[in-house]
């Protein structure tokens, strides 16, 4: 079966799952089956089919599984958000269509994505500016002590989501050009292999600026994500574990410094270590997140069964259920098995992404695919790890599932880039190599 036919075959069960999910929520909420779920499933399938036909025309060789997997996560998200609030789900569905439109535009205009390399410093600057934007007077917005969003007229946006793509493009491009000198120019000092500062300089400047910006806007989750992606790319580009170790050491030093000086950071860490100190205030979100998961068990309570607010009131029982803690809601309603399914989908996307990097021919494609995949997987880890108390809870979105336009749009652009790289790699590799892409 050709790649596109496999994609088509995979989309049908996704649409059926969405239909079944909506049917389950309807059955729970109104105690009857509603053929509206079929209508929603039909719409969803139609939108996916349109995208599929577009891909068939534009990127016939692209990876066949990435789009169905992303659609599956989106379907998951739509059902969970619908279950929280029907109005929000309508917004999210519109944003899904908007995301797909930008996905199509990105594929249309970036067909020759090498041009990205030429504008790497411009792209880096745009990325930094996007990060800075929430602090700009007039358009900046402060939420929970963090400056995450900008608002222009009716449009609200979280720039960090797009910024991550800009910075990955820059890092991939820069490392492609300088990876040799970074390896060859490395010197051993006191038994530790250090990268040559001259070539590392611009990298450190851009990266350092982004980290500072993140501290400035107090977006811990994004800074963690950016830093991890940076280390991952540096390692893949140079193959030097010692660089990663140095980076980690610097990170721990920086983390210690910020944890002891910036109250916002300090609080997050303290809550993570001792959530029971203030169960009704600062520790409320993480504790409620864990309590919600405890009710899930192996099989979950079923769609629509979880308590999100205290019954009879609007007091949140699971704060930020549609964004940060949506994973806890999934554990509650679908149980450990449902949660494992979600994690497995992320893992499959990561596997396909890294596969693209493996078969890509040129260094930029390899590094870009690696970087985009890494930042995507790490974002999922940061938020799922946050709500399961693996790491301090910081507000980043769960890609394709959480409610929020910036997240869904940015992740579809990221997906577009991965498919562009994949299409070229598999085309050039020819049928023999493309077979590698088969499961």
């Amino acid at each position: 079966m050709s790649a596109r036919n496999r994609e088509l075959a995979a989309l049908v069960p996704v649409a059926l799952l969405l239909t079944a999910g909506f049917a389950a929520v309807f059955a729970q909420q109104s105690a009857r089956l509603d053929n509206l779920s079929l209508v929603y499933g039909g719409y969803f399938l139609a939108i996916c089919l349109a995208t599929h036909i577009y891909l068939r025309l534009r990127l016939p060789n692209a990876d066949p599984y990435l789009f169905p997997l992303a659609a599956l996560l989106t379907a998951f998200g739509l059902v969970m958000i619908y279950r929280i609030d029907a109005g929000l789900a309508r917004d999210q569905a519109n944003l899904f269509v908007l995301g797909l439109a930008l996905f199509a535009l990105a594929i249309h205009f970036l067909r020759d994505y090498d041009i990205l390399e030429r504008y790497r410093y411009t792209i880096a600057a745009v990325g930094l500016l996007l990060l800075l934007a929430p602090r700009l007077p007039g358009i900046g917005q402060q939420v929970n002590g963090a400056y995450l969003g900008i608002k222009v007229g009716p449009l609200a946006f979280q720039p960090a989501e797009l910024s991550k793509i800009c910075l990955i493009v820059f890092l991939a491009s820069y490392l492609r050009e300088h990876r040799e000198v970074l390896i060859v120019g490395a010197r051993r000092v006191l038994g530790v292999t250090l990268p040559p500062l001259k070539h590392l300089g611009p990298l450190l400047v851009v990266w350092g600026a982004s980290m500072l910006m993140l501290v400035f806007i107090r977006d811990l989750g994004s800074s963690l994500m950016f830093f991890a992606a940076f280390l991952a790319l540096l390692y893949v580009a140079t193959g030097r574990l010692s660089f990663v170790v140095i980076g980690l050491a610097l990170f721990l030093l920086g983390a210690w410094f910020f944890a002891s000086t910036v109250p916002h950071v300090h609080d997050r860490v303290a809550i993570w270590l001792n959530p029971y100190n203030e169960p009704e205030s600062s520790g409320y979100q993480i504790l409620q997140s864990i309590f919600a998961q405890a009710d899930g068990g192996l099989f979950g309570q079923g769609f629509g069964q979880a308590l999100i607010t205290v019954p009879g009131t609007h007091a949140p029982l699971l704060p930020a259920a549609k964004t940060d803690t949506i994973y806890s809601l999934i554990v509650n309603e679908l149980g450990l098995f449902g949660a494992c399914a979600v994690i497995m989908i992320y893992l499959l996307i990561a596997a396909r992404g890294f596969k693209i990097a493996l078969i890509a021919d040129d260094g930029f494609s390899k590094l870009l695919a690696t970087g985009l995949t890494a930042v995507f997987a790490i974002q999922a880890f940061v938020i799922i790890g946050g709500v399961t108390r693996v790491i301090p809870l910081t507000g980043v979105t769960l890609p394709f599932i959480s409610y929020g336009g910036s997240s869904i749009v940015a992740n579809f652009v990221l997906l577009a880039l991965l498919l562009l790289i994949s299409d070229r790699a598999r085309r050039e590799a020819g049928p023999a190599q493309a077979a590698l892409g088969r499961p």
Partner: protein, 486 residues
């Protein structure tokens, strides 16, 4: 670079495995501890979403039900008690914030519909929400009403009525009562009330049994072969036990008499000597068979059912402790008993010496109206043999016919019973008066074919058992004998 990419992927796999590990820990392995955590309000809120089953009297009167509040995500149920204070004891209450007590607490699993893990998965597949079962009790509403209103006229105290051959509890009344509907708003007030309305005197009240305990001593004496109904013991007005004088009422001397006369006239010196003859070990053995020194096997939380026996402070004494057996034998010493225990004594004699486990519940009915469980009456112990029980019955009939308990008589019905009046002078709970008594009556009717065994007691009264407790016995017994409830 491919080698590094593969290694990076492995790292991502490892990180995701950590996520699966942590999720498993919270969702499965640590779930029970998290649900018990006091900071976790979810279990309470979940409980509030379950339509708890009703509690019904034997005739179908609704004693407790859940009413719906809100809808959708705001849906919750609140407990209502249509009969108010009449069934505060023994039904108790169940509220999300205030917790639960008594019958509501003991039968929580049935009422909340908590089934096995398997059945809840089945429910989930069916898409059903957990629903509670109704629990039907053996309580006879007419008799419960008579018992409580008689008590309210007589004073604080309790009445327990048990069907002798099944152990079905028809009445369990405690005065002062409380209205469970008031608990959500006034729990603090009810708790600090000096009259202790939340205290179930029928099962928790520990009172000196007075002469009603002579039934236990007589049972031990006859059944152990220490005496026969014909055995006579000389009963002077005063004897000495443990170096202190021990007297009959008005120091009346009876001479050599047998059990019938000794019980009919409640002769202390006679029973004191019988107690010494039986011996402490044998008497304690019979007490244990009657259920003393153990938590009565009734369907109420053990924290709300007291043990009866000889107490030193809060400690129960055993046969090896220094005990004045002569005074135990006629219900003095440090004996403290619950009305429930004394009702069990009466029921044992009525049922040919066989003590049935007292049970308030009768059957569990699922939301579709099917009885999913029914009370299967079972014996607690064979306390004495049927002949002993018959001999005791004859002696106890004498008490009502011609002795100290004539006010318990019901026209046209043979009644067997025993009065008791324990002096409780200077008792702080009674206000410290010098002539305060604990008045008792235990008995059963009809004596030839017992349908009901009852213990009635009134605390802090200046009256005697025959004056205040026997009439309560008579009213409740009459109501039950005329009742439709079977």
């Amino acid at each position: 670079m491919n080698g590094q990419i593969v290694k990076l992927f492995r790292l991502i796999v490892l990180l995701f495995a950590v996520l699966v590990g942590f999720t498993s820990y919270w969702a499965v392995f640590d779930a029970k501890a998290l649900k018990d955590n006091t900071a976790n309000k979810r279990p309470l809120l979940e409980q509030q979403r379950i339509r708890r089953g009703r509690i019904l009297a034997a005739d179908g009167t609704v004693l407790a039900r859940s009413v719906r509040k809100g809808h959708g995500d705001g849906l919750r149920y609140v407990r209502r008690y249509p009969e108010g204070a009449l069934y505060g004891h023994p039904i108790g209450y169940s509220f999300v914030r205030q917790g639960d007590s008594e019958f509501e607490k003991f039968h929580n699993d049935e009422l909340a519909g908590n089934g096995s893990e398997f059945s809840s998965i089945l429910d989930e597949l069916r898409g059903g929400r957990q629903e509670g079962n109704d629990v039907v009790t053996n309580i006879d509403p007419a008799a419960q009403r008579v018992a409580l209103s008689d008590l309210e006229a007589a004073g604080f105290g309790a009445v327990v009525a048990i069907v002798p051959n099944t152990g079905r509890v028809r009445v369990l009344a405690s005065n002062p009562p409380f209205d469970p509907n008031r608990v959500p708003e006034h729990l603090g007030e009810l708790t600090s009330d000096p009259t202790a309305p939340l205290f179930d005197r029928a099962t928790q009240g520990q009172y000196p049994p007075g002469s009603t305990f002579k039934v236990v001593t007589a049972a031990a004496g006859l059944d152990s072969g220490t005496i026969t109904p014909e055995t006579t013991i000389d009963a002077p007005g005063t004897i000495t036990a443990q170096g202190r004088p021990l007297q009959n009422d008005f120091k009346q001397s009876f001479g050599p008499i047998s059990l019938d006369s000794a019980l009919t006239y409640s002769v202390n010196t006679w029973f004191a000597q019988l107690g010494v003859r039986i011996g402490v070990d044998t008497l304690f053995e019979y007490m244990s068979r009657f259920g003393f020194n153990s938590t009565p096997p009734i369907d109420l939380p053990s924290s709300q059912v007291s043990k009866s026996g000889v107490y030193e402070g809060a400690d129960l004494l055993g046969p090896n402790d220094p005990i004045d057996i002569a005074r135990v034998a006629f219900g003095q010493e440090r004996l403290a008993v619950t009305p429930l225990q004394m009702a069990e004594v009466a029921a044992t004699v009525a049922n040919g010496g066989r003590l049935m486990k007292p049970q308030i519940w009768s059957r569990v009915v699922d939301p579709d109206g099917r009885a999913v469980d029914r009370l299967d009456p079972s014996a607690y112990s064979q306390v004495v043999d049927p002949q002993t029980a018959a001999e005791l019955t004859t002696a106890m009939e004498g008490v009502v016919d011609a002795g100290t308990g004539t006010n318990a008589a019901i026209p046209g019905v043979r009644v067997a019973g025993k009065t008791g009046t324990a002096e409780t002078p200077f008792n702080s709970t009674c206000g410290g008066g010098a002539d305060q008594n604990q008045a008792w009556f235990i008995g059963f009717a009809p004596a030839d074919e017992p349908k009901i065994a009852i213990a009635a007691t009134v605390e802090c009264t200046t009256a005697f058992g025959n004056d205040v407790a026997a009439p309560i016995f008579r009213d409740v017994a009459e109501t039950i004998l005329n009742s439709e409830v079977r």
